[in-house]
């Protein structure tokens, strides 16, 4: 982005102004996440940087809130984490299977009423969450699954499938269907063809859809607030309760762990996206 030498002064000023605006926005986006890190190691109970921390005094830092997170009295976080992972994993599996199979059908050029069906399938993504929450609650309550893990899993499958459908159809749009025909002509049955030919090729799309579905479930709070009972409390619910009642440093320790988790997910998603682009020959 170097400016050519002949640039007039006013454009030069404009250019640097533009760069500083961009710098500010990037800072605005990323900085809040980094406040949490140091404060979660605070030895004191207040959510401000203590004098000791500003001097980088080692005594001002401690792991007590992490200790509290894991071993604290009446600790809700362990149960919440367990529930969150169980629910998110099963919701992801459900969403991936249903979503991938549907995407295979949708990307067939023989599919009738494609637009209408696509709109129906991704509607849980485009309808505001609170409305989805009310509707899903009515359904789950009616079949008697309120306050059960299974109920929440079903709810999260509904919310997660649109992402899988979108990512997998996107991957399939660059898919060369002649390879499946070749496999069929060589005597492979459709299931075998899917497992050995199609799936490995669309795997990046499937996995990134799975990541979306996982994060959607893992981070979902609106619908769970309607559905969860005392035994189904999840990490987002605990955080929501904690943030409403009292902002304790333990929450920051949990938040730090969540940021690390999201970093891992981000890295995986990025690697997959690049791989997928390379395979589809998009990368210039």
């Amino acid at each position: 982005m170097a400016l050519p030498k002949y640039t007039e002064t006013r454009y030069r000023i404009w250019h640097y102004l533009y760069l500083s605006i961009c710098g500010f926005v990037f800072f605005f986006l990323i900085a809040p996440l980094f406040v949490i890190f140091p404060l979660s190691f605070n030895a004191e109970e207040f959510l401000v940087f203590s004098e000791g921390m500003k001097r980088l005094d080692p005594d001002a830092f401690s792991l007590r809130w992490y200790h509290d997170m894991v071993y604290g009295t009446k600790n809700p976080w362990g149960l919440a984490a367990k529930n969150s992972f169980i629910i998110a994993i099963f919701a992801t599996i459900g969403a991936v299977i249903l979503g991938t199979v549907a995407a295979l059908g949708l990307s067939s050029r023989h599919m009738p009423y494609k637009g209408l069906i696509m709109a129906t399938l991704i509607s849980p993504m485009i309808v505001p969450l609170i409305i989805s929450g009310v509707a899903i609650f009515f359904f789950i309550a009616k079949i008697g699954l309120a306050a059960t893990h299974l109920g929440i899993v079903i709810a999260h499958i509904i919310l997660g499938t649109p992402f899988v459908v979108i990512t997998v159809t996107a991957t399939l749009s660059g898919f060369d269907h002649s390879v499946t025909r070749a496999a069929a002509s060589l005597g492979s049955n459709p299931v075998n063809t899917f497992m050995k030919i199609t799936l490995p090729l669309i795997l990046p799309g499937v996995i990134s859809g799975a990541l979306f579905a996982f994060v959607t479930s893992f981070d979902e709070v609106v619908v769970v607030l309607f559905l969860a009972g005392l035994d189904n409390t999840t990490i987002p619910i605990q955080m929501w309760t904690g943030l409403r009642e009292q902002l304790s440093p333990t929450i920051l320790a949990v938040a730090t762990c969540l940021i690390i988790l999201s970093t891992l997910i981000l890295v995986t998603a990025e690697l997959l996206r690049r791989r997928s682009e390379r395979l589809r020959g998009i990368n210039r």
């Binding site: 454009y11 533009y18 760069l19 961009c22 926005v25 990037f26 605005f28 986006l29 809040p32 996440l33 406040v35 401000v48 249903l98 199979v101 549907a102 059908g105 067939s108 023989h110 599919m111 069906i117 129906t120 399938l121 509607s123 849980p124 485009i126 309808v127 505001p128 609170i130 409305i131 989805s132 929450g133 009310v134 509707a135 609650f137 009515f138 359904f139 079903i154 499958i157 509904i158 459908v165 979108i166 994060v215 893992f218 981070d219 709070v221 609106v222 607030l225 309607f226 990490i235 955080m239 943030l243 902002l247 920051l252 938040a255 969540l258 940021i259 999201s262 970093t263 981000l266 998603a269």
Partner: protein, 417 residues
Amino acid sequence: MSSETQKILTTDGIPLEISLKKAEKKNKIKAFLLVAPLLLFIIITYIFPIGEMFTRSIDDRMITNMLPKTFKAMETWDGKELPPEEVFASFLADFKVLAEKKEHGKLGQRLNKEKNGFNTILKKLWRKMNKFEDGNTKEQIMEIHKRFRDVKYWQAIKRTAPPYTMAKYLKGMDMYYDEDGNVTQVEKDRRIHRILWLRTLEIAVVVTILCFLMGYPIAHLLAVLPMKYSNLLMICVLLPFWTSLLVRTASWMILLQQQGIVNDFFVMIGLVADDNRPEMMYNKTGTYIAMTQILLPFMVLPLYSVMKTISPSLMRAGKSLGGTPFVAFWKVYFPLTIPGIGAGCLLVFILAIGYYITPALVGGASGTLISNQIAYHMKETLDWSFASAMGLMLLTGVLAVYWVYNKLVGIDNIKLG
């Protein structure tokens, strides 16, 4: 080429055309069978329940089922003068059935909403219920209380006859049916819902504009920088995108508190006095700041994917044809980014309008939006029909936005990530 059409046959001896059609049909069924499980799942677990929200929101069968005979008898009554003996007799019969089931209190409460004073006279009726003699029920009921002689009370009962009502929708707009059945506005100082609708709209619009103003420059920078730099900067957009919403809200709560870092910074550069730190949380400012940061990635990603496809030579061509950089940008680059702007704004607006977690945490008293109200009625008051009605009103608004968007930009132009 011969002009005469000769039927081409497959090896089975079936005309090719028919054979192809058959294969086509088979493929169609195959494709549909693949989609069917998810389609059924979504329809049963999601689309039907949204429909159920509608029936629930207009449902008024409770009273219809309580007074079946009365409403049957009222069918022939014109509703202008006191109803005939038959109506009184059926009303008494219905009332006796309800009293046996101990549901007469419910009826009183429900009718009291329709017309004030019903509860008292029904209680009186209940006490004297067993002293009724056969025949001429009308006279006997009218003896109990003078209100039974007032035709307005009978008109109120008749109004509750239909099994559905729009009352919940009216309530969502701070209106109600008054005692004569006209649509009336509630008193000025009690119009809470209209304030909430306007506030929700205001927050969604302001956040969308802020996101656009902040997202456009950085999306542009990301699109024009060489890959190795832009990939690095992209992390700044993607990391918040993948991070839990509650984590980001928590960090804003820390930053914006009165002793928080932002205020510390303002004091340090001398913008505000130390003893006069501004409240940046628990008001609209906090909501705007936090929601903008949280929704900004949803603006940047569609913008970026559109800008990435615009060739830089177009801007150079614009400039070489005599346009200043500004003119070239405005006349060449900007129009090309409109699909991205549309998609980004639509996405942010829709997400913002249904948001409530962040506003509830950092917005304080002014952070209550329509979604909070829906959640409140779902969880606290258990007035599910009212929650459904408001949810559907919100959904109608959202669908209207989609419709306008489709007219202006075209829904197919949406690009995600």
